[in-house]
Symmetry: C2
Subunit: 370 residues, 2 copies
């Protein structure tokens, strides 16, 4: 064939894990087979650990249920949410790869306006492997794309850009709306294919959705904590938002880039807006205080790693948001626990090599895998 | 016909002027006739005032050449550039309308991907009449567009948005590149139609191009000064950039919005890159100091009007950029002259009513008009 559907050698095949949180059989992967089968999957099974999740034949995966999370993390498992897709960040923790692509199990392959199926992962990889431009806005969108460049008036000293840490993809069909908007516009579908990738400018926060998301785990992984949501917590559906606010503030501090736009996935089914409203309602008014908090935070110059930034952020959360609700005290503590877990499972490379024989026994996750 | 090309009543017909700087006959208007003929044109003739500029029949216009500029402004005419498209801002000054659309005479009607001719002005008007969202990023682009909304996680308190002051349109075919990029990529054409309008976030500068631009003159007019360029000046092709930097900083201070994206025009002919390089080269290195200057400027709380902001900005320009080159001392003075001219020709409405009989004689421009 003149145009094979997948490239002969899938890009970053050995450097990328696909993380999928789920409560059901992963039939949705059938449609993704041409694009995702070459990659390794980390499946985080939410809810009842006794349930058996079926994965289509031919996929290479490891699967963790709640018992595995408890076994791997011990008391630190308290930082991983239960009965909420926030549990996906456990997959980020146990991955040993440089890149992560995470996708929801109700997301299917979308088509571009020409009718061609979109390889979402390939676009995310392209986004991550080209620089971002957070310091000045380029009106022709991503200047590193074929057929585009920096426009007149763009400072030359800024044209190298900065490393891209996060690639945020979008959704055709069911848009990612909150419960009130879902209730008001039950029939709205996103049919507009916007052929653009752009950098979110420095100092600007954005609502990061976890449905179709990729990132450089080495650059920003420890900030990709999805918080305390779901079972036993006062809110849900703010897991990815929380991670996005924290990660964006840290990217800005460390001079890293965040891109949004392409690729699109096809989001098949709107979640129940009544259930969502129950999960969201505290977040809806808390965020009116959370956003100004994140907009005004200044991390100290001494914070030069993501972990240091994140621990400082956790202190600020407890101090400044603790008065909004006791929940934020608990969340601040969980943020620290998360970093401790991250450092335990991801020791610095030199330390890792030295400690290998010991740490393998104690810490290496041993999931059910294919 | 079921779908007339132009709406029965053109929007804002009596509230909008179209400003065109030119040195040649305006044949390009033929193609724009279906969309622009209902509106009033202000033509600013650059170069030799003896030359006769032909305007296609049926257009309602007033035309100013250099002699008219000198007559209307007297000694203040020094702030209006000569032999440079920067002279277009004279049209902004003498307009009495609320909105301005300005377009270059090498810009033609573009087609959308379905092959339909794009009414650029109608899209600009839509951009200006709907709010902007500079305080938080919406990943589905302009939330006020049909079929779009604010996504999950967007703070509800920010969903009213702010008034839109500027609508920056883009270009198919010849992209707006600087001379070095033109030289390096002589054959690059912009063929990507990005179906999006977006707000440029607060605190982020952008390269504003004057080719296809609309704005609310009442909200931001006095900041739309295109500087000292061309004849007798050390630089050219930075007129719109200068206006964009100044206007964006003032929009951010006054809580006004700037949108970019749709509409596209068809930019027909690349200017000569060798000539452009000569005009641009000082700007190319000066901008490395100008951008940090604009990025760090903080206007004082006492500045509550565009004029006050602009005068304060002019002081900063002289103080902080004066050391870069004596040109900026001159530019800072010209900025003040511009504001004086603006206030003379655009007295506050109450004062205007009282002073009408006197001011008409002294100040009212009397151009050659159809």
């Amino acid at each position: 064939m003149a145009h094979p559907i997948t490239p002969l050698s899938p890009p970053l095949k050995d450097e990328l894990d696909i993380v999928i949180p789920t409560i059901r059989n992963l039939d949705f992967l059938e449609m993704w087979r041409p694009f995702l089968q070459p990659y390794h999957l980390i499946i985080v099974q939410d809810g009842d650990p006794a349930k058996v999740i079926k994965v289509p034949d031919g996929f290479d995966y490891e699967l963790y249920n709640r018992n595995d999370v408890n076994r791997v993390l011990g008391p630190k498992a308290s930082c991983i949410s239960f009965k909420d897709s926030a549990c996906r960040c456990f997959g980020f923790l146990v991955s040993k790869k440089k890149y992560i692509f995470t996708i929801d199990d109700d997301c299917f392959v979308a088509k571009d306006p020409s009718g061609k199926e979109i390889n979402a992962l390939a676009q995310h990889i392209q986004n991550l492997l080209t620089p971002s431009t957070p310091l000045f806005f380029n009106t022709l969108y991503d200047p590193y794309r074929e057929g585009a460049d920096f426009v007149r008036g763009y400072p030359f000293s800024l044209r190298e850009g900065v490393s891209t840490a996060i690639s945020h993809g979008l959704w055709l069909n069911i848009p990612d709306y909150d419960a009130p908007t879902q209730l008001v516009k039950p029939r709205e579908r996103n049919t507009r294919y916007v052929d653009a990738v752009m950098t979110i400018p420095k100092g600007t926060l954005f609502p990061m959705c976890g449905m179709n998301l990729a990132f450089d785990r080495e650059l920003i992984g420890p900030a990709m904590y999805f918080g305390l949501m779901g079972d036993g917590q006062p809110i849900g559906r703010y897991d990815d938002m929380w991670a996005g606010w924290c990660a964006k503030v840290i990217c800005d501090h460390l001079n890293l880039g965040v891109k949004t736009g392409l690729p699109y996935i096809w989001h098949s089914k709107a979640s129940n807006p009544f259930v969502n409203l129950k999960k969201e309602y505290k977040g809806i008014y808390w965020q009116e205080e959370i956003i100004p908090f994140f907009q005004s935070i200044v991390l100290s110059k001494e914070c030069t790693t993501v972990q240091e930034c994140y621990v400082e952020l956790s202190k600020n959360v407890k101090e400044k948001l603790g008065s909004v609700d006791p929940y934020f005290q608990k969340l601040g503590d969980a943020m620290v626990t998360w970093i401790e877990a991250w450092e335990e499972l991801n020791p610095p490379k030199e330390a890792s090599a030295a400690a290998e024989p010991k740490s393998v026994k104690k810490e290496e996750p041993s999931p059910k895998s294919k």
